[in-house]
Symmetry: C2
Subunit: 436 residues, 2 copies
C-alpha cells in the first residue's frame, strides 16, 4: 500500500556563498546558493524530499509558486501518481490557468521541478532503492510512460523511445557492476571561479591534480586578457593531456562569442559553455559552426528551460554537449526525454551540477544514462563542485574523481534538519547574525 | 522636476470570466482574466499605473515577484530612470541573483513587464501625453536608448535601429493625422470562442457584420469535425471577401498542425495562430513552409517570451505575422526591439490583445509602429475583444472597427478604484459572493 500525500511544506533555504566568491561567474557575480526546499508529508512514516536550486534573491517567489502548485498534489496517493505519471506531470505543467505563467519555463517550471523531485524521492524511498536503481530496474514501457511527449514527437515518438531503451539493454548488468566498482567520471569546477585570484586558482588546481582530477573547468568572459592569462596558467599546470573546459555563462552576443573564444583556441578547450543567451538556438548553431574548425565544441543546458528547447538545440546541431539540469527541467520525467533525444542525435550528455545539492541529484540521472541509454563514457563526464555537501543526509561520495553510486533509498534530496533551520531565510540563525 | 518613486503597491485583481466561457480556447478552457495590478506612488501627486495579464490561478505568484522587484524601483526618480532607460531595464532583468529565475521569461519577466508598464505610464503622464504620442515625439536616438540590444546585435544593432527610424520619418505627420481621423484597423475575436455554441457564434457574427467588422478570428484545435463545421459556418456568414483567421492556442505537435490546418485550407484562413509550442521556433518554421502552398501564414507571439525568441522566429522564417504582447515582453522597451526587427525582416506586426486591458495598452504600440516604423497598413490589424473595458478610466474607443488613438495622458493602464476593490482576489466583494 503506497502512501498518500497529505501535506506539502516548502522552505526558503539560503547559503551565503557570495561572501567568498564561490560560484562567481561573468553573469552571476555574487550568488548565494539556495533552494526552495519541499517536503511531502504522507499518511505513513515515509516522506518525500525535493528542491530546486536558486541563487538567493527571488527564492521567495519560487516558494510562493510551490505553495500554489501544492493544491494539485495534496490528496494524491503515490500509487495514483505513478500509475499515470505522464498525466500527473501534465496536471502540474498544463493547468489551464497556471500554464499562462510559463508554459514550462521560469519560476513555475523550477517550482514544478522541486515538487516532482520530491515525488520521485518519495517513490524511490517507498521502493527502498536509490533513484538511479529504481530507474534501472524499470522496464522501457514504464519509463516511457513517465514522459510527456507533447511537442517532441517530430523528433522522438513513444515507440522510438521504447526501441532505443530496448536496444541499450545489452550489457546493462555489466555496466551497472562497472559503475558500482569504478563510479562515473567527473570533472571539477571548484578551482577556477571568476572571483578567485591567480594564486587561489593555482593552489586549488595543484590540490586537485594531487587528488586525481584530470578534467578542469574555468570561468571566462569578463575580460579577455584575464582569460588569456588564466587559461595559460591552468593549461600549464594541467599539461597537454588533461582536459580543459571554459564557461562564459551567457556573457556574449553571437559574433563576440566567436571572436573571443577563437582567441582562447590555443589553450585547446574541449568546449565553450553557455557562450550566449540560453534561448538562442540559432545563435548557438552559428557559434558551433564557427568554432568547429578550432576543435572546440559548444555546451549548454543549465538554463535551457524545457525539452522543446533541447529538441531544437539538437535539431539545429547547436550544441555538442548536452548539459541536463536536475532542477530546471521538469524533474526525472523531462530529463528522461532529453537523455533519449540526445542519444538519438548521438550527442553526449554531460550534466550541469554544483550549486547546492545538484551533484546529489544529477548523479542518479547520469548513472541511468550510462547503464540504460548511452552505454558509453566517450566524451562524457559529470560536473562536480566541492561545496555544501555537508548539509545533506546522503552526500555524494567522490573517489578518484568519480561519482560512486548512491546506496541510500531515495533521490538524495534530503537536507539535515539542522541545516534547514540554521540557513532558513530570513529567520535562520545564520541570516539573523549576518544582518545584525 | 520629475517625480521620485517612493512606494510600489501591487494587487491581485481577477474577473470571473470562466463562468460564461469568454476567452475559452483549446488549451485554456476556463480562464478568469486577471491582472497583477501595480501602482507607483511618487513624491508628487502623479502616480504610475501598470499591470500584467494572467488567467486567474497563479496571479499571486506574479504579485510576489512584483514585490521582490520593487526594491529595485523604490527610491528611483523618473528622471534617473529615463536618462538611462536601457540601464534600468537591465537592472530589472539582469540582477545577478534574480536572473536565474528567468532569465527574461515566465513569472519574473511578466512581473517586470507590469512594473515597466507602470513606469512608462508615469512618464507619459508626467509629459502630459498619451504614451503613443510620447513615443512618436521622441527622436530616434532617445527611442533606441530604451532598448537592451543584448543578444540581438547579430540581427539588429543600435545604429541600424536608428537608421530604420530615420528612414521612416518621411510622411510621419500625415500618418499621425490619418490615425487621428480614421484610427487603426482592428479584427474581432469576440464572436468565436471555443466554448460558444454555433447559435451564439452565428448571432455574434451577424451583430459584428452589422457593426462594420470585416476581419474575424475563430478558435480551433479541440475537434477537427467541429472545426470544419464552425469554419464553414463563419465563412458562409462573412462571405469570400472578408478575412478569416484561426487560432489553435498551441494545441498540436508539428506534424499534427500541418495535417489539421491543411484540412481547413478550403476556408481560406489568412493565418493559423499558435499551431504548436510557443518555444518551438524550428517547428513553426516547418509548419510555415508546409502551409505556404495553401496561402496560409503562421502567426505567433502572445506567449513568445522575449526578443531573443522573436529574433529567431524572424531569422528562421518561422512566422508571417508577429504578434507582440504588451504584458509578456518587457514592456515598451522590448516591444520597440521586436517592432524594429520585424520591420527589418519585412514581417507585419499584428498585436495580440483581448484579455483584460491588453487592448488598452497595445493600441499605443501599434499606433507608434504605423506612424514611426512600418508606415504600412498592408496585412496589418490589431486584435480586439469586447470585454472588461468598463473597468478602465480611459477605455479603448472603437469606431467602424478601428481603434481611435487615446487622448488621455498615460498608457491607459489605470483601472477604476471601485473595480480594483470589487474584483480583488480573494477578498473583493465579487469573489466573496462567488465563494459563499
Amino acid at each position: 500500500m503506497l502512501p498518500k500525500i497529505i501535506n506539502v511544506t516548502v522552505k526558503d533555504v539560503r547559503f551565503p556563498t557570495s561572501t567568498e566568491q564561490h560560484g562567481s561567474d561573468a553573469m552571476h557575480t555574487d550568488p548565494d546558493y539556495s533552494t526552495a526546499y519541499v517536503v511531502l508529508h504522507t499518511d505513513s512514516e515515509l516522506k518525500g524530499f525535493g528542491f530546486t536550486f536558486t541563487l538567493g534573491k527571488g527564492t521567495e517567489i519560487v516558494v510562493c509558486a510551490v505553495e500554489s502548485l501544492s493544491r494539485l498534489v495534496v490528496g494524491k496517493s503515490l500509487e495514483e501518481i505513478v500509475r499515470d505519471f505522464r498525466g500527473f506531470y501534465r496536471l502540474l505543467t498544463s493547468d489551464s490557468q497556471m500554464r499562462w505563467l510559463g508554459p514550462e519555463k521560469g519560476v513555475i517550471h523550477v517550482a514544478t521541478a522541486a515538487v516532482l523531485n520530491a515525488v520521485w524521492d518519495l517513490w524511490a524511498r517507498a521502493e527502498g532503492k536509490p533513484l538511479w536503481k529504481l530507474l534501472v530496474d524499470m522496464d522501457p514501457e514504464q519509463l516511457v510512460s513517465c514522459i510527456d511527449f507533447r511537442y517532441i514527437t517530430d523528433v522522438l515518438t513513444e515507440k522510438e523511445a521504447v526501441d532505443l531503451l530496448l536496444k541499450a539493454q545489452e550489457g546493462r548488468q555489466q555496466r551497472e557492476d562497472q559503475m558500482l566498482s569504478e563510479g562515473y567520471p567527473a570533472y571539477t569546477t571548484s578551482c577556477a571561479w571568476l572571483g578567485y585570484s591567480d594564486q587561489q586558482l593555482q593552489q586549488l588546481c595543484a590540490d586537485a591534480l594531487r587528488g586525481g582530477w584530470t578534467r578542469f573547468k574555468l570561468k571566462v568572459g569578463a575580460d579577455l586578457e584575464d582569460d588569456v592569462r588564466r587559461c595559460r596558467l591552468i593549461r600549464q599546470m594541467i599539461g597537454p593531456n588533461n582536459t580543459l573546459m571554459i564557461d562564459a555563462n551567457q556573457k556574449w552576443d553571437v559574433d563576440e562569442a566567436v571572436s573571443w573564444v577563437s582567441r582562447l583556441a590555443e589553450f585547446k578547450p574541449l568546449w565553450i559553455e553557455e557562450p550566449t543567451s540560453p534561448d538562442d538556438i540559432l545563435g548557438h548553431a552559428t557559434i558551433s559552426k564557427a568554432l568547429a574548425p578550432h576543435g572546440i565544441g559548444v555546451a549548454t543546458g543549465e538554463q535551457c528551460h524545457n525539452r522543446v528547447m533541447f529538441k531544437q538545440l539538437l535539431q539545429a546541431s547547436a550544441l555538442q554537449f548536452v548539459q541536463i539540469d536536475s532542477c530546471r527541467l521538469g524533474s526525472v520525467n523531462e530529463n528522461l526525454a532529453v537523455m533519449l533525444m540526445a542519444h538519438k542525435f548521438k550527442v553526449p550528455v554531460c550534466p550541469h551540477s554544483g550549486g547546492v545539492g545538484l551533484c546529489e541529484l544529477v548523479q542518479h540521472l547520469i548513472l541511468f544514462d550510462y547503464i540504460c541509454v548511452s552505454a558509453s563514457l566517450n566524451n562524457r563526464m559529470c560536473e562536480y563542485v566541492d561545496h555544501l555537501h555537508e548539509h545533506f543526509t546522503s552526500p555524494v561520495v567522490i573517489k578518484d574523481a568519480h561519482y560512486l553510486p548512491p546506496k541510500d533509498p531515495g533521490y538524495s534530496c534530503e537536507m539535515l534538519d539542522s541545516s534547514v533551520q540554521r540557513y532558513q531565510f530570513p529567520d535562520g540563525e545564520v541570516w539573523l547574525q549576518m544582518n545584525k
